[in-house]
Symmetry: C2
Subunit: 441 residues, 2 copies
């Protein structure tokens, strides 16, 4: 791709309305554009990153046997009245009257709708478990939307729902998502800690939130540093292996300020392992038994009786993750971003020094571009007539993890190659391709 042909509207300076670094960077490099309060359009650069995150989330849902569906954004109020949440939900629910004066709403979450789908389709316990998920836009009418896409009104979320016959099976489903989330965040190059959490308006008595460390995080977190050494690597999709995994995590104290208890923290965590920092919630899982299935009559036949199914729900903020990853990775002092290669908008940038009346560097750039394209490396060439140093500054912000400079320092068949944040090296194009391909594995 040529930079001159892309739609990447770069701002010279940090926009004054943005106070946190993800919001600043996303506006600065044209990843998003606000269309109204708390509502954003995703421009090509931001869109590409979000889609790659979505795909990783999807693959990890599929791996635990969850099936993808798609529920609509607009829901009828009727099912929310059945569950009893229509009045409870308050002003954050965007309520709508259609032309026939029916009460509708823009879904902030989908427990009611999925329960309605389940009850009209599944009759026998033999069809259990069912793990269903969708990735869809949701709306919460925040009173004061702020921090860009981190606390916005229209947001993109993966929400999954599990249906089981009894508590024991339901916890097995819960633990599958527990594992799936650890794997998802690992592929996004994030250290996410599962923390015992309150259940809030979703309800239930078992819940974990997944929190990543970031200085600018909205929650205070208190944990035992040894939790970072727990590995999910050899966990299998069976009951025992999964419950062992949860035990390994739950041995260590890890809570947000909502659940913080100073005495417990100090009793359970030796001084040298205490960590008190800030974090961002990127996922939340809930087990709530028959909280929805009972009022909505979602049951299966089992041994001649109707049993209300036991349900859980499991959310990952897909659009929010874009911002969370920036909060975790962006060095705003030096204005350098580096995306994990799994979700980078491009994998490599080529930055030629272009002199008037001399196209030789641009020609080299095109040749390298074609070579890398043949190796399936997604590359962008900066063919604009900006000066070299402002191009480099720009690409440090955009955060493409690898850069090839074609300037004064390139010699013969060797080019200046930078893995962002590391020292430049002079390498052949073959060696450059090898390094990038290796990183993608």
């Amino acid at each position: 791709m040529l930079f001159s042909k892309t739609f990447i509207p770069i701002l010279k300076n940090n926009p004054s309305e943005a106070v946190i670094k993800s919001h600043q960077l996303m506006l600065r490099v044209g990843m998003i554009k606000q269309s109204s309060a708390g509502i954003y359009s995703w421009l090509p650069l931001g869109f590409k990153v979000m889609k790659k995150i979505e795909q990783i989330v999807r693959e990890e849902q599929n791996k635990i046997g969850a099936q993808e569906i798609l529920m609509p954004t607009i829901q009828s109020s009727e099912i929310w009245k059945e569950s009893g949440r229509y009045e409870d939900y308050g002003e954050e629910m965007l309520r709508i009257q259609d032309r026939q004066n029916r009460e509708m709403l823009y879904g902030p979450t989908n427990e009611e709708l999925i329960t309605d789908i389940f009850r009209s389709s599944i009759k026998s316990y033999k069809s259990l478990p069912q793990l269903l998920y969708h990735i869809q836009w949701k709306f919460r009418d925040e009173l004061r939307p702020r921090f860009g896409i981190m606390r916005c009104r229209e947001f993109y979320m993966k929400d999954a729902y599990s249906f089981d016959l009894n508590d024991d099976d339901a916890k097995f489903s819960y633990n599958k998502f527990f594992l799936s989330y650890l794997r998802t965040f690992k592929r996004l190059d994030l250290s996410a800690i599962p923390m015992a959490a309150d259940t809030g308006p979703i309800g239930g008595n078992l819940s974990h939130e997944f929190v990543i460390l970031a200085e600018t995080g909205e929650s205070k977190i208190y944990t035992d540093k040894r939790i970072f050494e727990v590995s999910s690597e050899n966990t299998k999709l069976d009951k025992k292996s999964l419950s062992n995994l949860r035990e390994k995590y739950e041995k260590f104290y890890a809570v947000t300020d909502e659940k913080f208890d100073k005495k417990k923290f100090e009793e359970n965590v030796p001084k040298e392992f205490r960590l008190n920092t800030k974090g961002i919630e990127v996922g939340h899982i809930f087990y709530f038994g028959d909280k929805y299935s009972k009022p909505m009559s979602a049951s299966v036949d089992f041994q001649g009786k109707k049993e209300f199914v036991k349900m859980g729900s499991y959310g990952v903020g897909v659009s929010r993750l874009v911002g969370a990853i920036i909060e975790a990775k962006y060095d705003d002092k030096n204005e350098v971003m580096k995306w994990p290669i799994s979700i980078a908008p491009y994998e490599c940038s080529i930055i030629p020094l272009i002199n008037k009346n001399d196209n030789s560097n641009l020609d080299k750039a095109h040749n390298i571009y074609n070579y890398l394209k043949g190796k399936n490396i997604d590359t962008i060439v900066d063919d604009t007539d900006e000066n070299f140093s402002s191009k480099i500054k720009k690409f440090n912000l955009i955060g493409i993890p690898f850069q090839i400079m074609i300037g004064k320092k390139s010699e013969g068949d060797l080019f200046e190659f930078v893995e962002v944040g590391k020292e430049a090296k002079n390498l052949s194009i073959e060696d450059i391709a090898k390094i990038i391909i290796n990183k993608k594995k």
Copy 2:
């Protein structure tokens, strides 16, 4: 995938509320479920088909150099007041008041929002052309939603927008989409005819709709049969080649009843080539110059002057195509559907005859499944204890294009293999894989 593990809720009979065949079939095989009037959830089978259509649409947009973005579903009324369409649009626009009493709406189309994005980002004619598209949910508050997803309220649509300096360049952009649409529908195995069309509420003076033939279609169409012989195969992405393509099509009379003129039809079309039938609109493209850029002040600097950009818009109904393809392909007399393999929910089904206390056919099915999986063929095994003939009936409805029966007629290493709608053959699994792989090319 095992049928017993999927979420495919099959109905025994045609649902009484459905009057057209796509609506009947989609409910019958559990592709969709209505959640409220004109609003549907997409269950796994329907979701897979829609996602595959979306991906083909996307690839063909990318091939002409269009860039993908994503605009939100909820828009502010302000930009619609700027363009003058806020009042005009009538009751089909779903109007919403948020908690701060701001006037919002659920976007039925995005000319205003994209013009707003353009005007705040692009300043110079050197950045033209810009072709931008997104694939997003839209809402039209139909008074009488009906025919399932063919005339629903919440629908999934690809809409693209082009921005150019002058009429000539803008028509070049228009023609790129003209070609892109022909290629898209061809990959979906549809014969789509481009027809001169009225512009309606979008505005402008040049427009084509793309219509596929279907007996149950909503529009009457009048055309010259020779239009089906026009090919876009060797068309290149240059001005001349594209305008030749349009000329080749425009030589032949082709209109819907809105534009029908009996005298012209009879003058222009020799009797033996006259075709008067029904069709379904699956795409619509518009050129409208500065209809939006002028009132919304979207201009670029050119030779010291501000020039309002010349715009077009280009829509494909992605969710609607699922229904349209069923209308075109489903033989409802014999209850046999056959999806084009490019968008089939699975590529092959394996239907074993299962006897009590004898798992040998099911074991064979698993072996074949694993073999085909190794060949990257997406296969589903019907491991349920339904009887053989009702399984076959079910799979004829679901429309997976290839079936392998493991029953009385399979001999040794040969299995009964059916390409839906053709004669059964006894073939080895290697030969079966070859046929399927060949069809996928």
